[in-house]
Symmetry: C2
Subunit: 336 residues, 2 copies
């Protein structure tokens, strides 16, 4: 099968390349008759313009790259879903690129990515949105980027985050108001800024309600289900057993719930469990998890939309936004 290019169309239709290009891009100043004629040839020859050539001429690829390194699959799915919504709205496409923050190869990896595929912009999700090294590199390379859920504030780039500290405060307060005071906490991955923020919200709630912070009640997780299972073991063995557990995300909370159930503890009668994120699993298990609904899709959608506007050369106005997190109470928390 012979390739159909803009040249063949032009020859066949008896007009110049440029006129074909005009029809292709719906530019004005083409007579209706000519336009019709060219459009007919498009159909006849089954012509599809070459996006690469177009990209070269316009210096655009209409592709956004999404960087992630996140143990929580559902978080990534939600990120993708928000990013895709914004992309498709503007006729952009999304390229996904998981990679590792640690190991020293990050910059080389991203450099290779940019060499392999021309990307108009990059969405950085945690923990990349907090990587100063990466951000410096992108600035130097003049690559457009948007940060999702980043804690860095003194940066003039696009950033959409949610209020993790406040969310953690509220859910801890919810437990306290139910009557809990012996509340265990499971931390997230140390590379993620959300980890520190959620921890800090937990501590602030305790202190606000005059409950002494007890480091023995804190377990180190990393947002993965598996780490939650390990932390759960540690926590359920504490004497006296905490009457409530607040895990930094729903996966880890689900792991606590599973172990508690295995040990024939009744949730929430014997122990209350709270999570964070409002991941699907929070409502797929019984009892459903009390959690903080974090607007992951919406954050990403907004970030990508701003990014695309910026790429288009528009004046984006407000670059940095903070969305609210919301407490969702389900069956996993109750009075002790």
């Amino acid at each position: 099968m012979k390739k159909v290019t803009i040249n063949s169309v032009a020859t066949y239709a008896g007009v110049s390349k440029k006129t074909v290009s005009r029809v292709l891009n719906n530019e004005p100043n083409v007579s209706p008759a000519t336009r019709e004629k060219v459009l007919k040839v498009f159909k006849e020859l089954d012509y599809t313009p070459n996006p690469i050539a177009r990209g070269l001429a316009r210096n655009r690829s209409f592709i956004i790259g999404c960087l992630y390194d996140n143990p929580s699959k559902s978080y990534i799915t939600r990120v993708q879903s928000g990013a895709l919504e914004a992309c498709h709205k503007h006729n952009y496409n999304l390229l996904i690129h998981p990679c590792e923050l640690r190991g020293g190869a990050l910059i080389a990896n991203i450099e290779n990515l940019l060499t392999t595929s021309r990307l108009d912009g990059l969405v950085l999700t945690p923990p990349f949105s907090d990587s100063v090294e990466l951000i410096e590199f992108l600035k130097r390379k003049n690559v457009n980027y948007a940060r999702v859920a980043s804690a860095i504030e003194d940066d003039e780039s696009i950033s959409v985050r949610s209020n993790d500290e406040q969310g953690a405060f509220e859910i801890t307060e919810h437990l306290i108001e139910l009557g809990h005071s012996n509340i265990a906490f499971i931390k997230g991955h140390p590379d993620h800024s959300a980890t520190e923020q959620r921890f800090s919200g937990y501590q602030r709630a305790l202190s606000t309600h005059n409950i002494a912070f007890n480091n023995a009640l804190v377990a180190e997780g990393n947002f993965s289900y598996h780490s939650g299972a390990d932390s759960a073991k540690a926590i359920l063995d504490i004497t006296p057993r905490p009457s409530a557990v607040f895990a930094s995300n729903d996966y880890m909370a689900a792991a606590v719930l599973k172990l508690a159930t295995q040990r024939h503890l009744k949730v929430p009668e014997d122990i209350s469990i709270a999570g964070f994120d409002n991941a699907p699993i929070a409502r797929h298990i019984w009892p459903g998890l009390t959690t903080i609904a974090q607007p992951v899709e919406e954050m990403t959608r907004q970030a990508v939309e701003l990014l695309i506007n910026q790429i288009g050369g528009a004046d984006v106005g407000v670059l940095q936004t903070t969305l609210e997190a919301k407490l969702i109470t389900r069956e996993s928390t109750a009075k002790p």
Copy 2:
């Protein structure tokens, strides 16, 4: 900041574009001295080649597109993970494109995708891997593609599937051998060929063990958790209550488990539950789900690898492979 192109490098280094290009691509016939010189200029000018220009010249984008329309998020995550592994191994990138099979806009949507971004190949996941309309279109457009978990056999294109019928047979047989005979079944999405195959395996197992098939025990799901919850209601209200439920995927099985637990039924003492896929949720809940481990990542990895070889012009040899599914027994199934 001025753009650094191959021309600036050439001028600065005092050589021709072509020589720079040679160094860039590690081609032979460049004297060590010249190579050194050019490499030094790369560093000095912080040069990054333009992938689009390269793509235009070579007629390659080194991007694979992944099509999906699947209610199960974890399935998609696994597909992506397998596809990415193969892509990165060959220095390709992955662009994701969820879209709808139904609605009539599919072909236009894909046509637009191909117009927007030059893709070297497409991975079709269910239900697209069974869409004759789409496959015809891609053939006509001369687009390389690979099918994952497709039931179409009389096609000369790349296809990697797993044995769904056999998997469903085995898990049903497992229930029968435990002593169950009143086994309810929840179907998957009607657009997916796996749905028919799993149903067929269920029926074959019944018939092999001389158990009469009873259509009243069959509920219509669509692979989503939500549809599983609806089916669960219907099934748990059947009198006499089935002693076991086999759901066509783990999400729906999890929904059955949740409702059963809510109704204070003990699993597996009062009712056994089996799923399909070995999705993460199968081991994140208690009791863990007995299920069929489907090698989703591996299927996709192999499919993409074959696809990339084909794009590279290699003789791919065997185009169609079937991988085995494996029974995983956990706590959700037991004697009635």
